[in-house]
């Protein structure tokens, strides 16, 4: 069985982001970029399935500028087998991403897609569900545990208030939550091997999909900064300010 893992290149989660001077976007020039953390978890899960003998090949796909090839190679170093790079200089919206992935799934005849539940840049949390809709496949979103048996999958999902267990049939889409696994660090030999793995590059204009954005970003701003107040000396003073000064208890 082949598994497809889409990965997104985003600003590294440790970087404090800055809005650009035109207030049109978050500055990405000269900023450290990394694989979206939820996508790393997706790659890790796919590699574990392959190590368990349940998956034969892991295809990594990423959409974006030239830089995303580095992200695809990071996924290779973790255990991805080959890559597809859909070249788009501009931002690609989730619905367009889902349409592109749908065509790849059909062309590659994959039965399983594992992907991050959301990217930490636009925080949309949409693409997996949209892809499931377009393929008319079941979806197992926000997975914290999956068990693959034959042609079906048991999944534990993180939901508000607790956990939920579903049983879904393959082919299906899984989106990963934080606690699904802890991604490995790539070893040096695997990083070296990753350089030789194949990446096919396709221009977004050649996919035949209408990739025009539906959302117009009018402006991007930093939120109002919360300013700290003061220190209190002891419990009595704390109770006093909460009761009498701000009246919240």
């Amino acid at each position: 069985m082949k598994v497809l893992v889409p990965v997104k290149r985003v600003i590294d989660y440790n970087v404090k982001i800055r809005v650009n001077s035109e207030k049109s976007a978050v500055e990405t020039n000269n900023v450290k970029m990394s694989m979206n953390p939820f996508d790393e978890i997706a790659v890790e899960e796919a590699v574990r399935l392959k190590e368990a003998g349940l998956v034969d090949e892991i295809i990594i796909v990423s959409i974006g500028n030239k830089g995303v090839q580095e992200t695809i190679r990071t996924a290779f170093a973790m255990g991805g087998d080959r890559g597809i790079h859909i070249f788009n200089e501009n931002n690609t919206e989730p619905l367009v991403v889902a349409k592109i992935l749908k065509d790849i799934v059909i062309n590659e005849k994959t039965d399983l897609v594992i992907m991050g539940k959301q990217a930490i840049d636009d925080d949309a949390n949409q693409t997996g569900q949209m892809l499931a809709a377009l393929l008319d496949w079941p979806q197992g979103t926000f997975a914290s545990k999956i068990e693959l048996n034959n042609k079906e999958l048991n999944i534990i999902r993180e939901i508000d208030g607790g956990l939920e267990t579903l049983n879904i049939k393959l082919p299906c889409i899984i989106t990963t939550d934080l606690r699904l696994n802890e991604p490995r660090y790539a070893s040096l030999p695997n990083i070296m091997k990753a350089k030789k793995k194949e990446i096919i590059e396709i221009l977004i204009a050649d996919t035949g999909i209408d990739f025009k954005n539906r959302l117009e970003v009018l402006k991007v701003e930093e939120p109002p900064v919360r300013v700290g107040g003061r220190k209190v000396e002891n419990v009595d003073e704390l109770i006093n300010v909460l009761k009498n000064e701000v009246g919240v208890i």
Binding site: K16, I17, V26, E93, L95, A98, I120, D121, D123, A124, N125, Q126, Q129, M130, L131, A132, A133, L134, W137, P138, Q139, G140, T141, F142, R157, I159, D160, G161, G162, L163, E164, L166, N167, I168, K169, C172, D177, L178, R214, L215, V217, L218, K219, V220, E221, E222, P223, R226, G228, G229, R230, K231, N234, V235, L238, I239, L242, V246, V248, I249
Partner: protein, 307 residues
Amino acid sequence: MSVLVIAESNSKEVDRGTLSTITAAQKISDNISLLVLEDVEEVLQNCKNIKGVTKVISAKGELEGGLAENLAPVIIEAIKDATHILSSAGTFGKNIMPRVAALKDSQQISDVCEIIDQDTFVRPIYAGNALATIKSLDKVKFLTVRATAFQAAETHGGSADIIEGPIAKTNRLSTFVKRDLSESDRPELTAAKIVVSGGRGIGSADNFALLDTLADKLGAAVGASRAAVDAGYVPNDYQVGQTGKVVAPELYIAVGISGAIQHLAGMKDSKVIVAINKDEDAPIFQIADFGLVGDLFQVIPELSEKL
């Protein structure tokens, strides 16, 4: 303009997020239909009374487990001439809404925190470290709404008609097995007026009992930082932060939490923030309204006792 709000309910009433979503919907149109995806009379009667709702649509059929595969066709059938489809941005809405939006070929807008006009919305990006103002060019718009950004609609004073809605059919692709919800008499984290949260400084699962005592005194919900969840002190649904829940209570008490950006993203809109930490340089003090430097194992019992 007309709005279809997808309700999330618990066999009794809709959740706080749905009530906030109804308030958000009122900023778009006065014509608001509420689609209820549970065939429970009590839920329907409660929905009918919610102020601002003009019509309650009662779905029937295979609704158990709230499976996205079964519910998406129901929502699509209920859309009719609605121009805006809204749900709360909890895990329920996040799971279902994009599936529906994609089938209607619309680019959803997630986590809306402000409605400027019928086409223009503000939403947080980068875990709330930036706010984007976005104009949608789609004819039918799909929005999930950040519950903490809108007041809850009043649960009384409305008199909506209840009409029969679409019938959900089962699919053979997915099956609901079970739901394990954390049992608690305390208020739900995202709806609580006061939240007491613990971080790695709490030190163990057993020590979290200190916070339970304090929370019970205050009628508060208990939350946690990602560090405390990852350390196994409390279940994942306690997590407040970028990858957990977003809360904005009247009072947020952060205990033994250093104040990582990821945590602040989930609580910085709280009205009053109190930080209790033994490290006086902890970043949490930079945003807290009131800080108390001290050993939580002395401070928390004392606080519980004196309240």
